[in-house]
Amino acid sequence: MTHGPGEVVITGVGLAVPGASTPDALLRRTACPVTGPDPEPFDTAARIGRRGHRYKDRATRLALCAALEALRDADLLPSDRESDSPAGGPSDSPSDRETVTVPGDTIGVVASSNLGNLDTACLTTTAIAERSAVDLSPMSLPNASSNVIASWVAIRHGLRGPNLMLCNGPTSGLDAVHWGAALVAAGRVRRVVVVGAETHNAVVEDLLGRSAGELLDGAAALVVEGARWAEARGARGVAALGQYERRAGLTGCVEALLPDAAAPGVWFTPERYTEGPAGGVPVPRAVPRYDVTGAVGRASGALGVLQCVAAVGWLARAAATSGAEPVEPVEPVEPDAGAGNGTAFGAGPGGARDPVPVSRQALITSGDDTADAVAGLLLRPTPDRSHPHPARAPLISMECSR
């Protein structure tokens, strides 16, 4: 039950996506994509109300929803919350913000979005060309700055720590998780809200050349926290952050994270990953693969955060399953897995004292060989969820036959 010095854990998760409200639901939907009519768009007013949000762009409102849920999940908000009743939702005035229960300067924000404020920039330009700058709404000014999402999350909850906005392409969400952990590891703050948000609209669809149905309209959030700070306030970590890499190409990134072709318990693949020819596969074929974008659409800057939420769902299932069946036999190593029994000593921030077998860890990658780089991250169970038996076998029952 001990954490390594400087270990960073996830103590809260939040989702604002259509059709999945929990990590488990997201994992399930990813494993078995639902056919039939698309779920309704996520209703931000149901979670954060309408008052005070009129001039915020859609990506910001989605991010606020996910961040609120993650802070609640991490027990960082007071229990009697005004916004439980949407009608009386909070406004922008300081008096009814949902301020956190710890000092605001102990919490930072790292947001990620590539497309969030494209519409403001482009539609403003059109309006100027059609009329003039005099006719613009001054209320659009904040949205012209690309960090508007990170700003509003901080303002709403009084988070006075470092406030970063990553706009780093396909890897941006996973990079954001990394920088959140880096802020904690460097001692800048004790905990960070990491939120990824994207939406679709006429501008995004035009510039991407994709239809709305292909694209995410949603957000995901995590609270990443120094393990000792989480313990100090009695909060439970649901996953521990392992090593992070940003490398050229998928194979290079996976090799840097998992030397000797070690097989992780699960692989959250890049967006729309398709299996290459034999020999060109970076992760042994027997490892279950999940592409969350199959469930929620192409997710751009939100992808890495969504993947982490789904991975938290996977780790919870693994723990529950192995806990319920303590005599479950050890899964044999797959024929093509090479050395599948590597262990991670936690090369991430701080590292862990007790090695967790790679087979119990989740591998997450964002970006593919067409991107400027591929980011990868390992998530492992926290000490109180570690279990000596690998969890892969029971989870295979969740796989769709496809």
């Binding site: 970063l164 392409g169 460097a186």
Partner: protein
């Protein structure tokens, strides 16, 4: 723990390259000009501090910010002896507006632009082979925020060398919205003047190479970064908060182990807006207390315009040049300081020989209340 700045690069409306930019600023040469990139008839504001590299007046093209960034990084890397290979070096880029100007052109005019180049990683990979690249969109303090993150990477031992850069070009959306909210359009940036009318945007890029300091490695370095603070007001989405700024200034000095009386020079954020200059002056006055008339103070946006995400790092490079040379560029257009800044020892009208300058403070604040403050020190070459 300090870090060494071993290379620097700059591109701005006043010149190309650190030497040319610093010489121009010390000579009081401003990059102010009539608005060239956009249709003047559509704005009340008619001026900006642009880099005039478009093919023809009114004809804009995508990718200009990326070009300046690559030039600034190239200059810094060459000076630091890294050459053109940054495959093993993290590159952290702070920007307010990314390549949003290119997106505007693609959307409105159908200009050719790959949306995958809104961030700068692809171009940095092509030119320098860099893969550990991160584009931070942190409004007008973005490049000092990136510097803080780089300093942390060196302090924790994760890296030996990091490239930090900042870049921005004027977007039509931001220019237009600022035009809309200014009560009277400014014709120049007049930091801390009672009659200041607001901010004008500027084009520019800046870059430094930051290295962990090893014993004896200081030879030839441009200077030392002692500490960088970063925080967030968490109060208002555009207006600055003097308390948040004061906390950032205090924290930077505390992290650097210096007191207000140790600071010889302050490069103020000084945007020439009513709100920023009043808030910044109040915060500086509060933190410096009785020492507020000690350091020389200046604000270069009077000559570069507000170069947004790149502005903090550009000020930092100017500060290092000032510490090394003893020369401090003037704050042009400052006739009568606002009341909160009456006791400040501004450098006005022309550059000043500052004498023995050792320690400088650089301020950068942005929309969303994001504040970053750096403390740098002269390296004895």
């Amino acid at each position: 723990m300090s870090q060494l700045v071993t290379g620097a690069g700059a591109v701005a409306s006043v010149g190309e390259g650190v030497d040319e930019v610093f010489r121009a600023l010390c000579a009081g040469i401003s990059g102010l000009g009539e608005l060239r990139g956009f249709d003047q008839e559509r704005y009340r504001t008619r001026h900006a501090y642009e880099i005039d590299d478009r093919p023809a007046p009114g004809a804009d093209l995508p990718g200009r910010a990326t070009d300046w960034l690559l030039r600034a990084v190239g200059e810094a890397a060459a000076q630091a002896g890294l050459g053109e290979d940054l495959s093993e070096v993290p590159v952290l880029v702070g920007t307010g507006l990314r390549e949003l100007r290119s997106a505007e052109l693609a959307w409105r005019d159908g200009a050719p632009f790959d949306i995958g180049r809104l961030h700068f990683g692809t171009a940095l990979r092509e030119r320098f082979g860099a893969v550990r690249t991160h584009t931070f969109s942190g409004a007008c303090s973005a490049s000092l925020y990136a510097l803080a993150l780089a300093a942390d990477l060196l302090t924790t031992g994760a890296e030996d060398t990091v490239v930090v850069a900042g870049v921005d070009t004027v977007t039509e959306s931001m220019y237009g919205l600022l035009d809309r909210v200014n009560s009277e359009p400014p014709d120049r940036v007049r930091p801390f003047d009672r009659d200041r009318r607001g901010v004008l945007m500027g084009d520019g890029a800046a870059a430094v190479v930051l290295r962990r300091e090893e014993p004896g490695a200081g030879t030839g370095a441009l200077g030392r970064v002692r500490a960088v603070s970063m925080n967030c007001d968490a109060r208002h989405v555009t207006a600055p908060d003097p308390q948040g700024i004061a906390r950032a200034v205090h924290e930077a000095q505390w992290r650097a182990g210096v007191k207000p009386g140790d600071i010889d020079l302050v490069l103020l954020h000084g945007t020439g807006t009513q709100l920023n200059d009043a808030a910044e002056a109040a915060a500086i006055a509060e933190v410096f207390g009785t020492e507020v008339s000690g350091p020389l103070m200046t604000a270069i946006k009077c000559m570069t315009g507000h170069t947004s995400g790149g502005s903090g790092l550009l000020s930092l490079i100017v500060a290092l040049e000032s510490l090394a040379s003893g020369r401090v560029p003037p704050t042009l257009g400052l006739a009568e300081p606002l009341p909160e800044a009456e006791a400040f020892r501004f450098v006005r009208e022309e550059a000043r020989e500052g004498g023995d300058l050792r320690v400088a403070q650089i301020d950068a604040f942005g929309f969303g209340g994001v504040n970053a403050v750096a403390i740098v020190e002269r390296a004895d070459r």
